[in-house]
């Protein structure tokens, strides 16, 4: 970073790309130099993914030029990009689960002996050397099945390096990683950078940008709008350029006196997943369930809602015992769950917005056994405008919306049930800054109206900003119950890593 090389490894100028009637990219520009980690920032829908896919040879741009090492190039297919030394590490790696790490890395180009047999010894040795050089303790012969997402990303990185890639594009690699896993990834990125690899790093977490990157490109509305050295920027100046407007109060914490107990969980256990989970959420209160990914937080939420089974324990909603095991029962009792994976669990992407919204309240829309399409669309429009949904029509398929707007549809379909208890799992995962602020505002408004909110979140700023109390889980158990005034990053992380929090056990 001190000695800025003269010519970029890769330069993209004026790239545009349309899908159907959507102009995904209007003016994509990027210059990547060897030996730098470069942050690509922007709200969802700003065109980052499209730009990445153009660099990866997945999409052919409608216009624009791509120059690599001073030579203009056209990628017709992903293999062209790989040949040019560009590799993409996606958020969710796509590996063959039944094959070993080495087999995955050398898929389709295994070293062969004279009889055409695969030289496993050589393949495994090369792979092991690469894994060691990345500083990870994985075995080349290990099957990919059962590896964490973080480990699978490492395998993808090793695969890219074995192909002599010197441009690595990481598309939101940290979104699904725990803290230590993020640290390990950063260490790997730092190693590669000193080995003169150019890394393009996409993330929604600004603290990671300051930790890891040297330069940034900010995109907005399909165009690259700002280039800078990371050290010249701060949090607010980046956010302002991403959204193109001022963000006033980011976490609108409402001052509400908690009321009756809305949700009460007692000694909930499921063998091997979580045990002895007890807590209360009062009306008008936001309780955050924090901890590392895999600590069992989402599983507790799904068990309360009846999607996952439980072995023992009780749940009471507004003082009434809830029969566990069926989502329909939980919905009738006044529980709503906004799930963590909105594309898989939250929405039927091919179905119109209106029909997604009505799915939870079909029985309430029925007159003489028939559903009124008009009432259905009115319901969707009503929740759409309440939640500031940006959509041309409620007849559009939910899949055509951006992540933030999809999240609003999921929120709308659950608020339409008029729940007493709202469980919201990763409320702002993968959504842009503007939509995040709107989701926070919605949560604050709901709490004012007396909603009991259980919020699962991996983002500490969000937990500290929104929660009245923070419960921390570690390996299936609650290890801390911290009131808002005492909550800080250190205490939450300590509990998440399994150190019991002496001050809070008696409270729980």
């Amino acid at each position: 970073m001190s000695d800025q090389p003269l010519s970029p490894r890769l330069e993209l100028r004026g790239a545009s790309k349309a899908f159907g009637e959507v102009q995904a990219l209007l003016n994509g520009c990027l210059a990547l130099y060897p030996g730098e980690v470069h942050a690509l920032l922007g709200e969802n829908g700003a065109g980052k993914s499209t730009l990445v896919k153009i660099l990866a040879g997945v999409h052919k741009p409608d216009t624009g030029t791509l120059v690599i090492d001073g030579v203009q190039r056209h990628f017709a297919r992903p293999s062209d990009a790989l040949e040019a030394g560009i590799a993409v590490i996606y958020q969710e790696p796509t590996l063959f689960a039944d094959l070993s790490i080495a087999e995955n890395i050398y898929m389709g180009r295994q070293p062969l002996d004279r009889l055409g047999r695969i030289r496993y010894d050589e393949m495994n040795r090369w792979t092991q050397e690469m894994l060691v050089s990345l500083g990870v303790s994985l075995k080349a012969t290990q099957r990919v099945q059962g590896l964490s997402i973080a480990d699978q990303q490492v395998v993808e990185i090793a695969k890219a390096l074995s192909l002599n890639a010197n441009v690595l594009i990481m598309d939101e690699p940290t979104a699904a990683l725990s803290r230590p896993e993020v640290e390990r990834l950063f260490a790997i990125a730092e190693r590669l950078r000193t080995a003169n690899v150019a890394i393009l790093f996409i993330t929604h977490r600004l603290e990671e940008v300051f930790r890891l990157t040297q330069r940034i490109t900010i995109m907005r509305d399909g165009a690259a709008v700002y280039f800078a050295q990371t050290c010249e920027m701060d949090h607010d100046s980046i956010v302002a350029r991403m959204v193109g407007r001022d963000l006033s109060t980011y976490y609108p914490k409402a001052d509400v006196t908690p009321g009756e107990i809305g949700l009460s969980v007692r000694r909930l256990s499921r063998t091997g997943v979580f045990r002895d989970i007890s807590f209360d959420v009062r009306q008008g209160e936001i309780v955050a369930l924090s901890g590392l990914v895999g600590a069992g937080r989402s599983e507790v939420a799904r068990a309360i809602f009846g999607v996952d089974p439980v072995d023992s324990g009780e749940v009471h909603v507004m003082g009434h015992k809830l029969k566990l095991g069926k989502p329909a029962t939980a919905v009738r009792a006044g529980v709503a769950l906004v799930p963590e994976d909105r594309r898989q669990q939250g929405l039927a992407l091919d179905m119109p917005i209106a029909r997604n919204t009505s799915l939870t309240v079909l029985n309430k829309l029925v007159r003489f056994g028939l559903i009124s399409g008009k009432a259905e669309r009115e319901l969707a429009s009503q929740w759409g405008s309440k939640l500031k949904l940006k959509a041309h029509t409620v007849d559009a398929p939910a899949g055509t919306l951006s992540g933030g707007n999809q999240q609003k549809v999921v929120l709308g379909k659950w608020l339409a049930t008029h729940p007493r208890v709202l469980i919201i799992d990763e409320p702002t995962r993968g959504i842009d800054v503007g939509a995040k602020a709107e989701v926070y505002q919605t949560l604050a408004d709901l709490v004012k109206e007396g909603m009991a909110v259980l919020m699962i979140s991996s983002e500490l700023p969000e937990v500290l900003g929104m929660a009245d109390r923070v419960l921390v889980m570690h390996e299936g158990r609650i290890t801390a119950d911290i009131p808002r005034v005492e909550a800080n990053e250190e205490r939450i992380m300590a509990a998440a890593l399994g150190q019991t929090d002496p001050a809070s056990r008696k409270a729980a």
Partner: protein
């Protein structure tokens, strides 16, 4: 947010089916002078009674991203059972009730195995296709029972008053209306689309996926048994091999009607139009003395076109929009 409902004149599969129907009617008229005669129209309608009765629940099942390939076997088993029970000396109304109950049980079996074991309906119903057909041969062997009471068999072949409408076809009309309402405007129907387009999300939304699927297969079993009864009365013959191979025609009619094999998309209006087209084409070609082998080829071609035509149309549309948008992007800079 609120947009006024506007008239949508874009290309739809249903609109295309209407055009094809008119063309097939024209073809029929061109090939044979008898085609539009009362007797022939009556034949034409009577001939697809069973296929239609089974295609209605099949549409719902395919919308929910499942399939029931055992329908024709349940139909055959019902026909055989009907013969056996009648020969045992039971009164006809009781026979009908018992046969329908057997159909419900067959559907319940399919549904329970698929839901409880979490296995794909394609595999399970291929198994029960063979199994139920086997039962029907066990019941009747290769014999046929033909001595059903005349007042029942005349129902199978007479028309409503002096009109061209065959009496069994009344059942098709009632069922078609019932199923259309069920699929398009009830909570049950809505949840089928949700299950077909994303089963996990439907489950997370409080839809009882397991119970819904069991209901679907029960419905299918019931309608297949009804088809078996009608078929037996129309031909006044209960046989173990009745309806053999009909499942292919049923699935073909549903897919040609625009229902997506991947679930989540399609309407009964399309399926009803597709049934009419297939009925008209078969009838017209038969009048023209075209062999049954050729008819099978025509069915196959319809099935292929139901997959290929929307695909090609979508590619053409995408290519056109892409050109327009590229021009706009250049202009916008």
């Amino acid at each position: 947010m609120a947009t006024p409902p506007k008239l949508n004149l874009r290309f739809t599969w249903e609109a295309m089916l209407c055009v094809v129907l008119v063309m097939s009617l024209g073809l029929g008229r061109g090939l044979s002078a008898e085609f539009l005669g009362t007797a022939n129209i009556s034949n034409l309608l009577a001939d697809f009674t069973e296929i239609a009765l089974m295609a209605l629940p099949m549409t719902l099942i395919i919308v929910a991203a499942e399939i029931d390939l055992s329908v024709a076997s349940v139909m055959g088993m019902s026909s055989a059972l009907m013969g056996v029970l009648w020969h045992m000396g039971l009164p006809m109304p009781l026979v009908v009730v018992l046969v329908l109950a057997a159909g419900v049980l067959a559907g319940l079996f399919n549904g329970l195995v698929i839901v409880r074991l979490g296995l794909p309906s394609l595999a399970i119903t291929i198994g029960t296709l063979a199994m139920f057909r086997g039962f029907s041969y066990l019941l009747l062997g290769d014999q046929a029972i033909a001595d059903f009471p005349a007042n029942w068999t005349t129902f199978g072949i007479s028309t409503v008053g002096e009109s061209f409408l065959p009496q069994p076809f009344i059942l098709v009309i009632i069922a078609a209306i019932g199923f259309t309402v069920l699929l398009q405007s009830t909570a049950f129907g809505r949840s089928l689309y949700a299950i077909g387009s994303n089963q996990t999300a439907a489950h997370f939304s409080g839809v009882d996926v397991a119970r819904t699927k069991i209901k679907l297969f029960v419905l299918s079993g019931f309608m297949s048994a009804l088809a078996g009864i009608i078929y037996t009365l129309r031909f006044s013959s209960a046989r173990g091999d009745n309806g053999e191979g009909f499942e292919l025609s049923v699935v073909a009619a549903v897919l040609f009607g625009g229902v997506s094999i991947f679930g989540g998309k399609g309407s009964l209006v399309g399926v009803l139009l597709s049934l009419l087209i297939i009925g008209v084409l078969k009838n017209a070609l038969t009048l023209y003395d075209v062999s049954s082998e050729v008819l099978t080829i025509v069915t196959g071609l319809l099935l292929l076109s139901s997959v290929l035509v929307p695909n090609i149309a979508e590619r053409l549309r995408a290519a056109r929009i892409k050109r327009v948008m590229a021009a706009k992007a250049v202009a916008a800079r």
